[in-house]
Symmetry: D3
Amino acid sequence: MSSIRIVGHSLPNIPWQDKPAGEVLPIWRYSQNPVIPRSPHPHINSVFNSAAVAHEGKFAGVFRCDNTRRQMVLHAGFSEDGLDWKINPETIQWNLPEDVPVPEYCYDPRVCWIDDRYYVTWCNGWHGPTIGLGYTYDFKTFTMVENALLPYNRNGVLFPRKVNGRYLLFSRPSDTGHTAFGDIYISQSEDLVYWGRHRYVMGPKEPWESTKIGAGPVPIETTEGWLLFHHGVLTSCNGYVYSFGAVMLDLEKPWIVRYRCRPYLINPRELYELTGDVPNVCFPCASLADADTGRITTYYGAADTVTGLVFTQVNELYDYLRKHSA
Amino acid sequence: MSSIRIVGHSLPNIPWQDKPAGEVLPIWRYSQNPVIPRSPHPHINSVFNSAAVAHEGKFAGVFRCDNTRRQMVLHAGFSEDGLDWKINPETIQWNLPEDVPVPEYCYDPRVCWIDDRYYVTWCNGWHGPTIGLGYTYDFKTFTMVENALLPYNRNGVLFPRKVNGRYLLFSRPSDTGHTAFGDIYISQSEDLVYWGRHRYVMGPKEPWESTKIGAGPVPIETTEGWLLFHHGVLTSCNGYVYSFGAVMLDLEKPWIVRYRCRPYLINPRELYELTGDVPNVCFPCASLADADTGRITTYYGAADTVTGLVFTQVNELYDYLRKHSA
Amino acid sequence: MSSIRIVGHSLPNIPWQDKPAGEVLPIWRYSQNPVIPRSPHPHINSVFNSAAVAHEGKFAGVFRCDNTRRQMVLHAGFSEDGLDWKINPETIQWNLPEDVPVPEYCYDPRVCWIDDRYYVTWCNGWHGPTIGLGYTYDFKTFTMVENALLPYNRNGVLFPRKVNGRYLLFSRPSDTGHTAFGDIYISQSEDLVYWGRHRYVMGPKEPWESTKIGAGPVPIETTEGWLLFHHGVLTSCNGYVYSFGAVMLDLEKPWIVRYRCRPYLINPRELYELTGDVPNVCFPCASLADADTGRITTYYGAADTVTGLVFTQVNELYDYLRKHSA
Amino acid sequence: MSSIRIVGHSLPNIPWQDKPAGEVLPIWRYSQNPVIPRSPHPHINSVFNSAAVAHEGKFAGVFRCDNTRRQMVLHAGFSEDGLDWKINPETIQWNLPEDVPVPEYCYDPRVCWIDDRYYVTWCNGWHGPTIGLGYTYDFKTFTMVENALLPYNRNGVLFPRKVNGRYLLFSRPSDTGHTAFGDIYISQSEDLVYWGRHRYVMGPKEPWESTKIGAGPVPIETTEGWLLFHHGVLTSCNGYVYSFGAVMLDLEKPWIVRYRCRPYLINPRELYELTGDVPNVCFPCASLADADTGRITTYYGAADTVTGLVFTQVNELYDYLRKHSA
Amino acid sequence: MSSIRIVGHSLPNIPWQDKPAGEVLPIWRYSQNPVIPRSPHPHINSVFNSAAVAHEGKFAGVFRCDNTRRQMVLHAGFSEDGLDWKINPETIQWNLPEDVPVPEYCYDPRVCWIDDRYYVTWCNGWHGPTIGLGYTYDFKTFTMVENALLPYNRNGVLFPRKVNGRYLLFSRPSDTGHTAFGDIYISQSEDLVYWGRHRYVMGPKEPWESTKIGAGPVPIETTEGWLLFHHGVLTSCNGYVYSFGAVMLDLEKPWIVRYRCRPYLINPRELYELTGDVPNVCFPCASLADADTGRITTYYGAADTVTGLVFTQVNELYDYLRKHSA
Amino acid sequence: MSSIRIVGHSLPNIPWQDKPAGEVLPIWRYSQNPVIPRSPHPHINSVFNSAAVAHEGKFAGVFRCDNTRRQMVLHAGFSEDGLDWKINPETIQWNLPEDVPVPEYCYDPRVCWIDDRYYVTWCNGWHGPTIGLGYTYDFKTFTMVENALLPYNRNGVLFPRKVNGRYLLFSRPSDTGHTAFGDIYISQSEDLVYWGRHRYVMGPKEPWESTKIGAGPVPIETTEGWLLFHHGVLTSCNGYVYSFGAVMLDLEKPWIVRYRCRPYLINPRELYELTGDVPNVCFPCASLADADTGRITTYYGAADTVTGLVFTQVNELYDYLRKHSA
């Protein structure tokens, strides 16, 4: 087994469940899934694609909570243990600087601690989908800044630190609809306002992701590179199937793919993944990692309706990833 | 709580189940759903989108019963209590006046008592879908008359009385397929043969109904207006979701929308709504109402496979509708 | 040669040009086509699909004049001889009774004298295309009445008299776009307000019209039936081609097709028909007929840009039609 | 009940379960379905559309086993009783004669004993889908030969003997994608290399199969003709539903349909058919038949994820088929 | 200049026009194009995609003559000089052996002398497009035989002799419509009835042919290989453009491409190519070749409306082809 | 007439032709159009969408020259008078800094003098269309720098000077194909490398541009604002029509539209605009302006095949624009 280590903080209270006996794959589901059910409040239709982070010894997060009008909105939430979540009943109200347009809708958030605060990126409605950017210190007040990119874009995910003096942002250029294409790019910035030096990371390659792919949680820094979970979409003879897999990216030039796991890691198999508002979806949005133990816990949206949890060990995952890389 | 009252008859034996403890929403499912299972007879594939009415102290109805050839046909059915239904094994045979064409297919019936008989409207196959019209006195013999409208149309629903001396008919102009558009109109007639003075009622507005909408059961007259349940369709990134909501229309000019409930009332959540011939469908087709108690019981098709039942109180629903109207 | 005669008025000053020597087909183009060029005024982009009639010993008409914003609007126009036209620079301003909605756009007009006035039908923008209806006595003031039919419909064409006590209207049910289907129906009315007793006339049959068809000019009454020119659309491997042909309908039940000419009569061949805003269009909208001589002169839109003229003799056309009927 | 008999061998150990009490339809599911679950090995995503045959007193087969990369590959498998299957963990490795191209992918296999060996046909990736052809004597070594047909084709199924001196092959000409069309043809060959004398068998007819149809298992010879199970696809307002039915074909000219069962026999109803990688699929690929008892046992793919089993008696099925034939 | 020579007969009366002064490209148009105008008879809409051959010291051919019903039919025609053509007014009537189905439509013929007769291949309507096959000795009586291939196929073109003891046939597998794909294959046969040993020749490669390609005239045998003209289709931002180019194929294994000309040879530039029933089409269907002089004269359809002629010299063309091959 | 003046240089030798007598519109075509024909060299298929500028007392430019492979490539060209152009036979060879990817294709260039050099922007092939950026001093050597924006984007147009200390760039976010949407945005940069502070300028509004719009030539600074010509696309019932119009943008915040001309200025009317590789296209790419006289001369691509020229006077155009603004 490899000696890879997570570069980061201890998180001794990371939500965790040991691997079931007999399981040979490196990632396994939480036995109490869905960890967050669909309607924590009567006017909330579903909670999924959730961005949980460690916060002040506990956990906090930003959640996609489609309401019963089926508006796509964001709520903050808090948890003592990362398993039992209190979702705020009211949506996040953004402080908006002058000239920053009011979001038409917000979905699929990611939260990333950089420097001194939590940055939030999400798919932001502004003449179509683009990458909204904001920040919070406490998950109580939230401030939005300039949209990072032009429309049409989705799955904007920040790196947790500057690389070579520049902030990095994954994104997936898109169009106005759900057209069947999507590759992952990295854009660079010196100030989180102006973005350039765009680099191509990767596109669909394996059948399970052959329609489109997008970055998942904030990448995890390891001694061997940036570990990125990404979702991929297969178009069957009758619809989409969203699974997720993993890649290891170069530490200094993370647009270089060191290893890419050819099989998916998680695909829709459980009833809460197979049925719901969008059948057959497993969509990862946030990972917690404990540098001491190498534990990684990942929240993923299931069927665009509820939130599931999966667990892995960084060294076990890395071995699997290398072994099954092309 | 408002003083709204249903304008109509007593229906003391309305099928009913009290609201579960802890439920805060104004409408709730029957605990024994699906109230009608998919195959009452071996050659019937499914029973859904069902038009039940009170009849001679008991209940009768016209049911969409796709057969195992997957032809869309109508059957009559009877029930002592509105819960336990005997569906006739044979389809309805229409008496056809000269020149009235034989239906190619019949689906999504509604039944409406006007004047002295039960009128049936349905989506009728005649060079494409249009609004078939017929009547019965006893649910034993049925007579078809002229198609009310030109193709292509669906979801034709009569009002239970003339308004300003004219019969009124909701419809949803469509095309030859299942193209993603659909608004509700009202057409007027002095004789149920010639229709004109078409009025626009409403189109998609909320996200949950953003693809298309259509009238549901025969509207219920109340002291505050016509209460209409309507279905709405959302196009997710991977298919349709049919939910239903409610509006209150002006009594004299029912093309004027007084209140429109922004959230949906019922959306697909139960396994019998999430899976079946068409996953993710809740499609209301008939309501029973008791003027004495304000109880309203609504039959809806679930997953185009079985029939479900939901209950509400008119005043509770009206308060919710007003509170959540735009 | 047959003894068919036009039932109607003399029109001794009908615009006319004799058949060119050597021509064997029963219909021929005006040698000075296009009879109306594209821009009679600088802000008019094109004049086509034009509805000319005899009026007070001269000629008048309603013209589709897309302006240089490419709005679809109607203009009145006048001519001494039916060849040299003065198009009004300003659009028709409709007098609108209460409740009749302001047209969003108007195109493809037909004009039909019935009883005591000129009725105008056109494709009217009201939540999508439907059949607008209005009238004029003098081509100076115009009054709009209720839309005849629900959306979505196009090519509404009135009969020049009641048949069996009812007004008759051709139409072509459509949808919100230019989807590739279209059949001709007749609707009936006792008062031009309420319409019913819808009858199916015909759908695509020959390859040249295999995508969709629609009624052309107001039908011409003859001793053998109603003569209708209709356009038909062929979808080639790379776009549409609009040609036109003719049918003879039963006098009493004009939804019965007596003869249907299998070949087209006119198809796009001249440069002004092959090129323009919509290449490959010949679209007839108005015919003049002289009962004395059997002459029929038809105005047609060419390439959705200009107006052309073709001539025929009723008996020659009828013989050709019968000979080439299926 | 008819005196029809299966023409073929005894198979006394055919997997079997008696008809449940009260069942009136001629075909019934195995109570322990799915008979093969989705992941016999960790890297296998699903096992379905399976081609089982009797082999040396036991059972063997070729299985579509999509792996966790979602590649479509074939595995051999063995069973003592036809119910409990051991699927080989490694894919079939084809011996490839010179010039025969390496398959890009392989799916939906059928296995057919002819003369002295087991022939395998499958949907073979070669510039698009076409009909791959190979053989084995022992399910250990497999040899591929020339592709039988040009792309684009699917559902190639051999007859178990020559008819009139020629090998026969069902196929379903297709295109590069999953476009909504598909009819069944028979092609003939004297040497299994060159194919010609193509005959049309049948296309969609009933609503349950109105989008496309394809041959299922190797046809079963009976005293009354060739019994063919075939799948058919219905396009609902929101996706495909795959059911299956049966036809009886002429013994000498099997492109002549003697009887065609108008209702489907099996459609998606159980949770393992309604949910999975492709919801709502029942797709038959292999039948076992016992000439002594008339028992027929059919393996079918469920939801493109697992394998189910259904049972019937040839005479009962034949009576049903004749009774419900058009 | 290369020493390539045509392998074949002298054709001293080949229609010919010397290269215009100043022309640097190796192929040039006939100055009197279109050589065949659109309507040689009043009921013929267009003559294009024409298969002319040398015949008894003069010229004969099979022509696609869409009639004024826009049916796609074939006519025979004759010419003294290959320039002035007499097209028969009546269509070819096929003698049909038992079991050979009546063609639903016939288009895009090619004529190929093999052994002792002229074989005709064409796109034949039989449940969709496939490759019809027939023969004539004299262009007066024509006999059809079995369709060569299963639907859906187009552009079937025979080789003028057996290669390695087998007849060879180019084809372009297609689907039921004009979907945007198409590669060239070769199928082999020992008897012109059963076809197999299918080989892939080539697919789209250059931008001018990036949507689909198909074989053009019967290939011309040269000392350096088989010279094949092929058409290719580019999809612009607003429609298709059909141009044509050339390849040199291996003499013994003609599925091996020796040289492939990267630029097109002829594209739509003249008004008769730019406008007509299908704008922007140059589609070659027949070449005449004179072994003595190396002259090659090619007939091509222009705008699916008329027929054009282009000229080249085999050595000049071959040099250009080699120079511009990838 | 207004006192608007062009802010910029004198260009006394601007190519010019006076307004024809009788013309009432403010813009008119060059009588010798097309000013650049389609094939200046045999291997060039077409020259259009051309970016001409004043250079050293004469004229130079960058031209889209699709070659006869139909590759989209750029050529430099020179002219003494702006009318008679010498296009280089060879394509522009870009000097490529490390990491800047080789363009897959280049089309629709614009050239803009800023500070000390000519910047070139174009639609650059890099995993789809994006905005390529490069520069030249002399039209002999060209250097490419980082792509300005992420894919998918088209119609990138620089402003001729910094505004408020930032470079400005129009663009039209797009997708991988020619999907029917497109709005104009402005992005800002301090260094031409990193771009942000994206602002929305405008989307389709008038019918003539109702499908999509894009910026045309480099905007012209005037005393009243930035004058921008833009193209707009109308989707007719059978294809696209590209016309162009003009807007006046705020000098300081050019995302604010001061005036927007509701009619188009130029639409396809001449044969060289109506026919060619893409019928019905007028696409402006470059303007020359003379501050002394107010003359503006604009080059536009016609039918994606040749280049046309139109003339206007700034004050006349501005009056027209204001008069016809919404």
